[in-house]
């Protein structure tokens, strides 16, 4: 099954900036963009951005999302300890008529 590619782990320093990537193809990320989710250990995921790059209320402005072609990016500025979590991207795949997730990136704040 075609999925989205995310780096398994990213480590960045406190108060620094982290950029997480999500690579798909023209049938998914390149078609309608990607949503981004955050999951802390033992909790359900939380939506950070929908595929239109809209941020739900309550999500910090330190989080931003963008897309270039078939690669979506999530940028987190001013990293805080509570940002340490797993981050997933998700996109609608028109060839599968299904949503697909990336494998997730574990963000460590040093």
């Amino acid at each position: 099954q075609a999925g989205l590619t995310q780096p398994p782990s990213v480590s960045t320093g406190l108060r620094q900036t982290a950029t997480l990537t999500c690579t798909g193809n023209s049938n998914n990320v390149g078609y309608e963009g990607a949503a981004w989710l955050q999951q802390h250990q033992g909790h359900p995921p939380k939506l950070l951005f929908n595929r239109n790059n809209n941020r739900p209320s309550g999500i910090s402005e330190r989080f931003s999302a963008s897309r270039s072609g078939s690669t979506a990016s999530l940028t987190i500025t001013g990293l805080q300890p509570e940002d340490e979590a797993d981050y997933y991207c998700a996109a609608w795949d028109r060839s599968l008529s299904a949503w697909v997730f990336g494998g997730g990136t574990k963000l460590t704040v040093l």
Partner: protein
Amino acid sequence: EVQLVQSGVEVKKPGESLKISCKASGYSFTDYWIAWVRQMSGEGLEWMGMINPGDSDTRYSPSFRGQVTISADKSISTAYLQWNTLKASDTAMYYCAKHSGGPADWGQGTLVTVSS
């Protein structure tokens, strides 16, 4: 406030059947797709499929088509995920999620353990 409340922990034996539920409130149930997502212990998220409660149109991931059945009862704003024959490999946490440009609102999860 959108709420998705899932049914409780399940412990089953291989070969048994199971139906878990996801009760929605705080929005118009028939206006948004509801998806089911699997997360095996220590692993990532896997999108299983989704249903449009308004007309019961259903989409499945190729990995899960034929393995599970997704349904909904709009009269009680509840979506379901069903197995006819459970396997040990179905042991996982299962989440339901309301879709709005992506899986936007999530249930608390239902832990399913399948063991002899």
